[in-house]
């Protein structure tokens, strides 16, 4: 290998990227756009579920219950209703996702029987939201009920009823607020890098074929390996810049806690960059048109990484055959590495499993890329 030729190719490629609007847009605009789109667009958190309240009793206790729903932060009381029909209408019209119905006998039943029924109605067309909202509602009500009981007992000079109660001390590690953003956004970075990296290099060889410069290039003594390395080096730097940009946005804009070491982050990111750039390069060698290569790179990276990398859809929940396929989706390793570094502060040793996956991919792809390009026309 010849350093001079390597540098000449890398330098030429850098100049070309800087002068090619399409490459520049992919390198600089795409990460920004996707970061905004995926970072803001994808959230599994449910906040401010709109709730209509049909308070038949309208007493201090019933109003107290309603305000507990609102104070939890999960619900928002948007409307007060006065009939069952109005509930149906409000849900049909999308005014609210759910309704809280407090019966006229609420306070009376509480004090007489120590037990009261209230009703929550949710729009089941959005099963996910409803599922989570139901859980929240149960929590709010359970807490309210305990409070009411204790207050009632105090008012009547009795000891609060403490028999047979198990107090669950719930603690969630690594993402105490259970904020989905904290585990989705590191995944978004992986998806962006996978797509942008492959896009960038998918243009590199096909551009030479398309513009007719390839024949001249391969008539020089340059080796295929020098061509590959020389072409990949600038894109490797661009990919690292893109990664740094996305990761900084993740930490400082989206405020995802970063608990790991920067060195681990840089090393694993560089390894992932080798994989994605190699994939794009391989496509570029095979497909001689820039448009074709970049389209295929987009389809091949975007779809599997969004669906099968585990960045939104948990891999554990997938059926076994699909789960088997995810091992081929190299982004899954990086998604899990990023999450662990960000939220758990994992070290390289902790990451041995996914790291091994990435290393295998990087080795195989680097090998295939090194032998893919031949300096021949036939």
């Amino acid at each position: 290998m010849n350093g001079r030729r390597l540098f000449a190719i890398a330098y030429k490629e850098t100049l070309q990227v800087c002068r090619d609007p399409r490459s520049l847009a992919i390198a600089l605009l795409m990460p920004l756009l996707q970061m905004a789109l995926l970072g803001y667009g994808v959230s599994l958190d449910i906040k401010n579920v709109s709730l209509c309240v049909y308070d038949q009793e309208n007493s201090q206790t019933s109003r107290d219950l309603t305000s507990r729903f609102v104070a939890s932060g999960w619900f928002e009381a948007v409307h007060a209703l006065d009939s069952d029909r109005a509930i149906r209408q409000a849900i049909d019209r999308g005014t609210c996702i759910g309704a809280l119905v407090i019966p006229v006998t609420f306070t009376k039943s509480m004090s007489s029987a120590g037990k009261a029924n209230i009703q929550t109605i949710f729009d089941g067309t959005d099963a996910n939201t409803t599922n989570i909202a139901t859980g929240y509602a149960k929590g709010v009500i359970a807490e309210a009920l305990t409070d009411f009981k204790n207050r009632w007992a105090q008012a009547h000079g009795l000891q609060p009823d403490a028999t047979g109660q198990i107090d669950l001390q719930l603690r969630v590690w690594f993402n105490a607020g259970l904020e989905s953003r904290n585990f989705i956004i590191p995944g978004v970075v992986a998806v962006i890098l996978a797509a942008v990296g492959a896009q960038l290099t998918s243009l590199t060889i096909s551009r030479e074929w398309e513009r007719g410069t390839m024949e001249q290039l391969i008539s020089t003594p340059v080796t295929a390996f020098e061509v590959m390395l020389g072409k990949l080096v600038p894109y490797f730097l661009i990919a690292l810049i893109d990664a740094a940009f996305c990761l900084l946005v993740t930490i400082f804009w989206f405020q995802v806690p970063f608990r790991g070491s920067v060195t681990t982050l840089v090393m694993t990111t560089a390894l992932f960059a080798v994989v994605v750039l190699g994939i794009g390069y391989l496509l570029s060698v095979r497909i001689r048109s820039q448009l074709g290569a970049s389209q295929i790179a987009l389809i091949l990276t975007m779809l599997p990484t969004t669906m099968l990398s585990g960045y939104t859809f948990p891999i554990d929940q997938m059926p076994a055959p699909v789960r088997a396929v995810t091992f081929l989706v190299y982004a899954r390793y990086y998604v899990s590495i990023l999450r662990s570094i960000f939220l758990k502060g994992s070290s390289l040793a902790d990451l041995a499993g996914p790291l091994l996956g990435l290393v295998i991919f990087a080795t195989v792809i680097a090998y295939l890329a090194a032998i893919a390009f031949r300096k021949r026309l036939d």
């Binding site: 010849n2 001079r4 030729r5 540098f7 000449a8 190719i9 330098y11 030429k12 100049l15 070309q16 002068r19 090619d20 513009r211 007719g212 410069t213 390839m214 024949e215 001249q216 290039l217 391969i218 008539s219 020089t220 003594p221 340059v222 080796t223 300096k375 021949r376 026309l377 036939d378």
Partner: protein
């Protein structure tokens, strides 16, 4: 120059039975050709005759199906990288980087060919001067006119001072003035000992070559200096005759006894006669068909006459190495 063959008359390009097949199509058929140092050989033939394919095999870009070729002493099939280090090549299509400047292209190819660093500046300056691109060093190549582009491409191809140069229709689409300038560069290179094989479809350019290799349907049809080919290949005496009905005249002449061939050249007919004595009778012959003709003039054959003649009769003659 250390990489130029020390013996002046040693063959620098040698093809023996060189053949290239694409499936059942034979693009280059059993080609024998030897080119000595400092020689300019013109590769002439119709489109698809196999010129580009041959040049690509000589550059190691295509693998010969049969036969062998040696360039600067290296086997193109076995040691293509050694071949590439000793050649300059201009492919048929303009193939520098349009989005780079003149200087950036030169620097890139200088790097590719590993031109010694301390010589880069002077060689680049020289290439820019010969291409007439002084003052436009930082212009994007896309903005240059055809002639300048071709001269720059040649400049890039010879930055490393290769002993052998393969040029594939380097002047196609370039205006005549620029073509002459380009050929001056080629002659200067040959004068300094560079061996050049250049394909072209301009007949006037064929005249600038030391020898011409006429190739048709993958086969070498004729080989020799322009003078030799003009004198030797026709096998008859060439006359020019003007008449009022070219098509009818052509048909009439072709049937006439003693006429080897006839063809329309511009607004006149060229007639190849077995014997010059027959020329005097041609107007009379034509008038029998109602054609009014002038008196025939004896002309010396142009290379085009020779090529039309050779290609049309599908004449295959042994190569004269």
């Amino acid at each position: 120059m250390d990489n130029i063959d020390p013996t002046p008359s040693a063959p620098t390009v040698q093809m023996q039975g060189l053949t290239k097949r694409f499936g059942t199509f034979v693009a280059v058929d059993d080609l024998d050709l030897t080119i000595t140092k400092g020689e300019i050989v013109g590769f002439i033939g119709p489109n698809g005759a196999g010129k580009s394919t041959t040049l690509r095999m000589l550059c190691g870009l295509l693998r010969p199906s049969a036969g062998s070729a040696f360039v600067a002493g290296y086997d193109v099939a076995r040691r293509p990288e050694d071949v590439r280090a000793h050649i300059g090549y201009m492919s048929q299509k303009f193939s520098l980087y349009s989005d780079l400047t003149v200087r950036e292209n030169l620097r890139f190819f200088g790097g590719m060919y590993h031109v010694p660093r301390r010589e880069m500046a002077s060689r680049m300056a020289q290439a820019i001067a010969t291409a007439g691109l002084e003052g436009r060093e930082d212009a994007l190549v896309a903005t240059l006119a055809g002639g300048w582009k071709q001269r720059l491409a040649l400049g890039c191809a010879i930055l490393h001072r290769p002993p052998v140069l393969f040029l594939d229709e380097p002047t196609s689409g370039v205006e005549p003035e620029a073509r002459r300038h380009f050929w001056d560069m080629i002659h200067n290179l040959a004068g300094s000992g560079v061996t050049i094989l250049v394909s072209t479809h301009y007949m006037d350019e064929a005249e600038y070559c030391n020898r011409i290799a006429l190739i048709n349907a993958g086969k070498l049809v004729a080989l020799g200096s322009p003078g030799e080919l003009r004198g030797r290949e026709l096998g008859g005496e060439l006359f020019e005759i003007s008449c009022n009905m070219l098509g009818a005249g052509l048909a009439k002449l072709r049937q006439a006894p003693g006429v080897i061939d006839a063809a329309i050249f511009g607004d006149k007919l060229h007639v190849l006669l077995r014997d010059s004595a027959m020329a005097i009778g041609l107007p009379l012959l034509l008038s029998q068909g109602g054609i009014i003709a002038g008196s025939p003039n004896r002309i010396s054959a142009s290379l085009e006459d020779v090529f039309v003649q050779l290609v049309s009769r599908g004449h295959v003659e042994g190569a004269h190495p």
